[in-house]
Symmetry: C2
Subunit: 351 residues, 2 copies
């Protein structure tokens, strides 16, 4: 088992191992005094893993209630959030009880935000079941919902008490959803580790269980190091947004349903690196190496949306600061930096 | 001018003085790098003070936008919150901009919650215009909205960058709304300061401007000391809930429209102290002294609602912890303690 300790404003552990869900109750019992656990999940994940999780929780003496919502990014909204609050009240969840998020990034984000705000904050456990959620949402404490006008525009920083990454759950992912997670995995290689980048480019890691566990824990460790240095995103943490400003704009252009997050980030990284290479802001050849790796995992590198439309969306993104916007560029494989541009400089660069 | 410094997770100042709103821009300029200030207020306050505040902000070079919602506790809900988020997005408020809450407790609570959650948190300034907001909501960093099932069930801890208590704004309050604030003022005397209690019982402080400034800053100082010792309400801060568990239940029984917060707290304190005196949990005579003081400020001491109904509402309150509930009792004027009761003990005591 891989164990990664995160020392943020509170300290917690992330465990990576196969078959963790079967004994999740035991691990959770060790980190919370809750009487009741409110399991929050979506309809896809519910049919696969809820029974296993709830059995384990009950065998440790927890009272358990469950809230299931329809899967998909479109549900990460204030309506679902209000339904979750009502469910927590109806089930008399108190300040000393706990929410467990069982599912992918959408489930983790909205459940974490509910845990951050219900009664001004209760305990929170993450049981991420997608590659994307395991390498990305599970560490860092960012929680959020979307507004009609943009993604993750409302949220809070909320550190979980524990994260259990059961690698067996990745077997049930479609190739498409697995690729989605690989978008973020490739990002970690690009911004911080040429060794990780080489590892994932050498062959498709999907079918090598040990390699997969190794890659997941390397990604988590990279994110952990960055988040510990900058929990509230004032500096280095912005590197994690590589590919995300354009990526979010692409998601928004597609109304959050046209393309998944990791793939949008893949395109965002590719577009940004292409622009950087044209402007001699990164080492020559970076763009080609990135695109080869993205292709190995069937992640697209182009979008049908016009760059000027995307650039307008970027300027409404929360990464904008006053009259400036921060962009992240990968200067060579494994190295990256934040660049602060004026709105005009940004438009000139992108368009 | 009275100046109280609060050292919570972040440090900030509360200023108490007449005519502060006229020069608010100057004070705000000193604590935020924002380009834009989003002023959030209700329709009552808007007509009285918005112009003064906005002029001062503009004279300091801030860009200003304004959101006005209908006054009243019923508006402290997710619908108004979503309207505020939409307003912030439309006005392109970014992470480095700032929200200023101009108004009473409802305005402060919902604006503070919006500031805590929009883009995962932006700067926040409080300009409280009621006695209740100046002595209570302005210090402690608690922000919240109500759910249909209860008051303040969703919220966050968010410390402001600055609080300006302009005592001139209290002149525009009706006697009724002034009394509402006195409910909380009396609470501070009851839980922590027999000297303050004597001061406010000696005569009605409304018309003595200097005395009023003194009393407000004493209340803020008491709350500041408690909050600094216990920012996230794990222990001593619970004392501030004296009168609030029953008070909230009374507000809920009246559907949050029948009675104002401070008056409900007044009744809550009176009921709880009556019960305590009957059970010899407080010094004899405390109940009478409290009721005399409440009467001086025209605060009711009785409710039309049945105690068993109120006790049921209490048990759904967020002050409940698992199978227990914490109640606050005033053992003698100026002294108080937290008592942890089982649900059955609580029912037996109240009914």
């Amino acid at each position: 088992m891989k164990k990664i300790t995160v020392n943020a404003s509170t300290s917690y552990e992330i465990l990576v191992e196969k078959n963790l869900l079967t004994s999740c109750g035991e691990y959770i019992k060790a980190v919370t005094n809750a009487e009741k656990i409110a399991v929050i999940t979506d309809d896809n994940v519910d049919s696969l893993y809820s029974e296993k999780v709830i059995n384990s929780l009950k065998s440790e003496g927890f009272k358990v209630c469950k809230f299931v919502f329809e899967h998909g990014e479109a549900q990460k909204c204030s309506e679902t959030l209000n339904d979750i609050y009502d469910f927590l009240v109806e089930n008399e969840i108190t300040r000393t009880d706990c929410i467990a998020a069982l599912g992918g990034g959408v489930v983790g984000d909205i459940s974490g935000y509910a845990a951050a705000t219900y009664l001004r904050g209760i305990d929170f456990i993450q049981l991420p079941t997608t590659l994307l959620a395991q390498v990305d949402s599970s560490v860092g404490g960012k929680t959020a919902i979307d507004l009609p006008s943009g993604k993750n525009l409302v949220g809070a920083f909320k550190q979980p008490k524990l994260v259990l990454c059961d690698t067996d759950t990745l077997k049930s992912l479609s190739d498409d959803i697995f690729s989605d997670g690989m978008g973020e995995v490739i990002k970690y290689g690009m911004i911080k580790s040429s060794a990780l980048f080489s590892l994932i480019c050498s062959k498709n890691i999907r079918d090598d269980e040990n390699l997969l566990t190794e890659v997941i824990s390397q990604c988590i460790s990279i994110k952990r190091d960055i988040v510990e240095a900058d929990e509230f995103e004032k500096g280095e943490r912005m590197l994690l947004n590589f590919g995300h400003t354009l990526g979010h704009a692409i998601e928004k252009a597609g109304n959050f349903t046209d393309i998944t997050h990791g793939k949008a980030v893949g395109i965002g990284m590719s577009l940004m690196t292409e622009i950087c290479e044209k402007n001699e802001l990164c080492q020559s050849g970076t763009y080609k190496m990135l695109n080869n790796c993205l292709s190995l995992y069937n992640i697209p590198t182009k979008t049908k949306y016009d760059l000027s439309l995307l650039s307008d969306f970027c300027l409404n993104d929360k990464k904008r600061n006053g009259g400036n916007i921060n962009i992240i560029i990968c200067t060579e494989i494994g190295k990256s930096e934040v660049k602060k541009l004026t709105i005009d400089e940004f438009k000139a660069l992108i368009r």
